[in-house]
């Protein structure tokens, strides 16, 4: 392990955590450190990848030395600002209580999951289809070729006489993950599937740390936050996406979860820094995977809705079904602009085809969620939580808008599979669970937050409206 490789790990941690601390304040408790480092590391990794983009056809050997030389001072500066500007620690030291033996057992199980994933990553050459065919094809080409060459469309490549342009079936996919992979790979000095896969293991750890820390700072009791973290870390399909590293879905899932949790903190504390962090994570979504744009639109819409005054919100609620219905009618009547635009995402107006396939698609989706080995009893747990804690949901304006976002997200997935040819991927199980995965950590965080003990304010007063209860800025 070289010094450059150590720097490659330290840079995103320092940069990302520095930015998170700058936005959300100096961490003081274990939970705050977990949130800052977990969220920060993911943010830092993506920023390191993005920082390479403007540098053109860079030699791979120069990536980390060049980029880290800029980003490390930025990270140090952010931390220095945070530490120098932070108010003296006036918080009472947390009361130390021992963990229940059952919780130790859960942590031991989590460690076993971690070991299996890590060893699998280190040993196995790149295995899953999209890893070598799409997401990690570019960094391997860059690493073995020695330069970060530009990937272009087929026409441009065929005509290129320089030999410096490359192409691939997936040439137009976002390159951020590929750049993250080349970041670590170039620091290692050679193409090594274990080195690249380790990024996904770090992502898993960061997801767990970030979720635990954010849930705790959102007032979820420690033991319950640990149970939620264990539940998240034990989900089989998430384990598989780590062990057989190389897919982008877990990155989308992590960004969505972190955006939602930061947004929750913004809604409940009214601090702008958390809102800015939520927006930052949301903006990363389209840079990772194409459907990230749709998640950004849905999340952005929910965020805007949450900031609206009650009067506008009523108007928005009244208009939403009209707009939605209008789009459907315009599409069915083959209205100019609307119909071609929806055709492009594969929507079909052939109701006969839809009706023929819909039952099979819905059946396959339900089987993936409720009857296969992918999610243990997660979706049953969500249903049970909603049934038992509906009062908490009604009492929390912030959770209501988060729930609205998740509902819209589920609606998007439903529409994607039932109304477009993507239904065939649901019927063959090839996409339905991977797309569900993208929303699972956010959904788990939402369900976990419904198990919070009621705060004094909430108990003492009747459920206030969102704008009154959770201002999003001073």
């Amino acid at each position: 392990m070289s010094f450059t490789y150590v720097i490659a790990w330290l840079t995103p941690l320092l940069l990302g955590s520095g930015i998170v601390a700058l936005l959300t304040g100096r961490p003081r408790t274990f939970a705050e450190y977990a949130a800052t480092l977990g969220c920060g590391f993911v943010l830092g990794m993506l920023l390191c990848g993005l920082a390479m983009a403007p540098l053109g056809r860079l030699e791979v050997d120069r990536i980390v030395p060049m980029v880290a030389a800029i980003l490390i001072p930025v990270g140090l500066g952010a931390w220095a600002w945070v530490l120098l500007r932070a108010a003296p620690n006036v918080a009472t030291p947390p009361q130390r209580t021992h963990l229940h033996p059952l919780l130790w057992a859960l942590l031991a199980l989590l460690a076993l999951h971690a070991w299996l994933m890590f060893d699998e990553i280190l040993l196995r050459p790149m295995y899953p289809w999209d890893a070598w065919a799409a997401w990690l094809l570019k960094p391997k080409a860059w690493m073995l070729g020695g330069h970060v060459d530009r990937f272009v469309g087929f026409d441009e490549w065929l005509a290129d006489a320089s030999g410096k342009l490359r192409t691939a079936q997936t040439w137009s996919y976002p390159e951020t993950l590929g750049r993250v992979a080349i970041w670590f790979s170039s620091a290692w000095g050679e193409w090594n599937a274990g080195v690249v896969g380790a990024i996904w293991f770090a992502l898993w750890l960061a997801l767990l740390a970030g979720c635990y820390g954010q849930l705790r700072t959102l007032r979820l009791q420690r033991d319950r936050a640990l149970v939620a973290t264990y539940a998240l870390g034990s989900l089989p399909l998430i384990n598989v996406h780590v062990a057989l590293a190389g897919y982008a879905d877990l990155w989308i899932a992590t960004l969505l979860a972190f955006a939602c949790l930061a947004w929750m903190r913004a809604l409940e504390t009214g601090e702008r820094g958390h809102a800015a962090l939520a927006v930052l994570f949301a903006l990363m979504l389209p840079l990772v995977k194409l459907e990230g744009s749709i998640w950004l639109v849905i999340l952005g819409g929910a965020m805007i809705y949450a900031r609206m005054p009650p009067r506008f919100r009523r108007i928005a609620l009244a208009l939403a079904p009209l707009v939605g219905g209008g789009v459907v009618v315009a599409y069915l009547l083959r209205f100019p602009l609307v119909a071609p635009a929806l055709d492009r995402i594969g929507l079909t107006a052939d109701t006969e085809v839809l009706m023929t396939h819909a039952p099979a698609v819905i059946g396959a989706a339900a089987e993936g969620l409720f009857a296969q080995y992918n999610w243990h009893l997660f979706w049953f747990a969500v249903a049970l939580t909603l049934a038992l804690r509906f009062g908490e949901l009604r009492a929390s304006p912030a959770l209501r808008v988060l729930g609205l976002f998740l509902l819209l997200g589920c609606g998007f997935l439903f529409a994607l599979f039932v109304l477009t040819p993507a239904g065939k991927w649901a019927e063959s199980y090839t996409a339905v669970n991977r797309l569900s995965l993208q929303i699972v950590p956010a959904m788990l965080a939402f369900a976990a937050l419904l198990w919070r003990e009621p705060s004094v304010a909430v108990v003492a007063t009747p459920a206030p409206r969102m704008a009154e209860a959770a201002p999003t800025g001073p």
Partner: protein
């Protein structure tokens, strides 16, 4: 110190239940009703109901035929040495058949012609036992029917570990009519294990065909739930369908339905309130989750053991050469030898009949400047400028070359080309460029 751990960390707070007044009212009502039926009678009734429920559920998920006895009425037994080796090499060892080599295409096959054909519907359960069956191989059951004597039907079986495995043949559409021959085939697990290093010696101990029974159906269910499931390309998309044999309903469904129904019945019979039911459902869900997680950890460990068997103790450079698609890796090496004499950045276009081969070969050829055959589609290539390129055609007879005309044809397109290399499945052509 001890008292601190007496309460569960997962204990629900007081707001779990329905409004407390309602809960108290229902508890009160229960207290009033209680004398009508003694506590012991309620418990006994509950026990009967739960036994009935779980028996019914197990029968449903195991797909036990209606009216089946617990034990099979008939068992047709074959010891390993009854089978003869069709492909590969084997030796009788006591009553076992030891397989110590594979045949063509890295495959081994053992079969037995039945003395008299049997009715498939009468024997829907296969029981099989092996010794030292390797994780590197995929196991199949093969059979021949009297109505199609020239066809061999194949179905993948859950790999057998040290214990006997059971398989429900009624899940196989082709298992009907009169069966004249049965057997087993073994070959390297596709797209996971390199064919040339997959084989390890193993022995066929015995195989049995059973008439319908609870024991056979439950055995098939247990084998489906617990058998080793190798990694598959499908694993990142769905766990369960990634196993290559017909599936039974999962324990996820059984636990969800069984636990919920059990607790609802218990709350009704024992006259418990909504609060009790809520707490019980949460605890049952936690227990069910843990049970499923332990099952998953076992399955994950099984999958990981193969990874360790293939790759542990080797350097990265050694591990990188152990790829499941040995033939494609060899093909890529041949192309690379040719490319070593070509200018840097030479365009290489990869064509094959299977999409997997196109993408995989492109990946193995890196850092060559590769592109998939899609670049040559009429919408891209026709009438547009194109630099000279090497076209690598792998196992695709649809590309035809007319040596006299030096013309390479595919679909409705034709390219001016020269044949550079031709051996086995691999052909390499040099395509001339085209001006705009």
């Amino acid at each position: 110190m001890i008292r601190r751990h007496l309460s569960s960390p997962f204990l629900l707070d007081s707001r779990v239940a329905a409004p407390s007044g309602g809960a108290q009212a229902s508890d009160g009502a229960a207290n009033i009703r209680r004398p009508a039926l003694s506590h012991r009678a309620r418990a006994f009734a509950l026990l009967l109901l739960l036994v009935g429920l779980w028996t019914g559920l197990l029968g449903w998920v195991a797909e036990v035929p209606l009216g089946a006895a617990f034990q099979p009425a008939e068992r047709m037994r074959f010891v390993g040495s009854d089978f003869h080796v069709v492909m590969g090499a084997g030796i009788e060892n006591d009553k076992r058949l030891g397989i110590n080599a594979v045949g063509a295409a890295h495959m081994a096959l053992q079969s037995i012609a039945l003395a008299r054909p049997i009715d498939a519907a009468a024997y829907p359960v296969l029981r099989y036992r092996w010794q030292d069956f390797p994780r590197t191989l995929e196991l199949s059951f093969v059979f021949r029917r009297a109505d199609q004597p020239d066809d061999v039907h194949t179905v993948t079986l859950p790999p057998a570990a040290a214990h006997p495995g059971y398989f429900d043949l009624s899940d196989v559409a082709d298992w009907h009519g009169r069966i004249t021959e049965i057997g087993f085939a073994e070959f390297p697990t596709a797209q996971l294990v390199p064919a040339d290093i997959a084989f390890r010696p193993f022995s066929l101990v015995e195989a049995e065909l059973w008439t319908p029974s609870w024991r056979g159906s439950l055995g098939a269910l247990g084998t489906d739930w617990s058998a080793y499931r190798p990694w598959a390309l499908m694993s990142v998309s769905a766990l369960g369908p990634d196993a290559p044999w017909p599936h039974k309903p999962t324990p996820v469904l059984l636990l969800a339905i069984g636990l919920t129904a059990s607790l609802v019945i218990a709350s009704l019979v024992l006259a418990r309130g909504a609060r009790w039911l809520g707490i019980a459902l949460c605890l049952a869900l936690a227990g069910g989750w843990l049970a499923l997680d332990l099952r998953w950890l076992g399955e994950f460990t099984d999958r990981h053991l193969l990874t360790r068997e293939l790759y542990a103790g080797k350097s990265w450079r050694e591990r990188a050469t152990i790829e499941p698609d040995t033939a494609l890796v060899a093909g890529a090496a041949r192309v690379r030898e040719l490319l070593a004499r070509a200018p840097a950045g030479t365009h290489v276009i990869v064509a094959a009949a299977a999409v997997y081969d196109v993408l995989r070969l492109s990946y193995h050829l890196l850092p060559a400047n590769v592109a998939p055959m899609g670049v040559l589609s009429p919408s891209n290539a026709n009438g547009k400028p194109m630099q000279p390129a090497l076209l690598v055609v792998y196992a695709d007879p649809d590309w035809t070359f007319d040596a006299a005309r030096k013309a390479l044809s595919y679909a409705k397109s034709e390219y001016a080309a020269e044949l550079v290399y031709d051996e086995g499945d691999l052909r390499i052509f040099s395509i001339r460029g085209a001006a705009p």
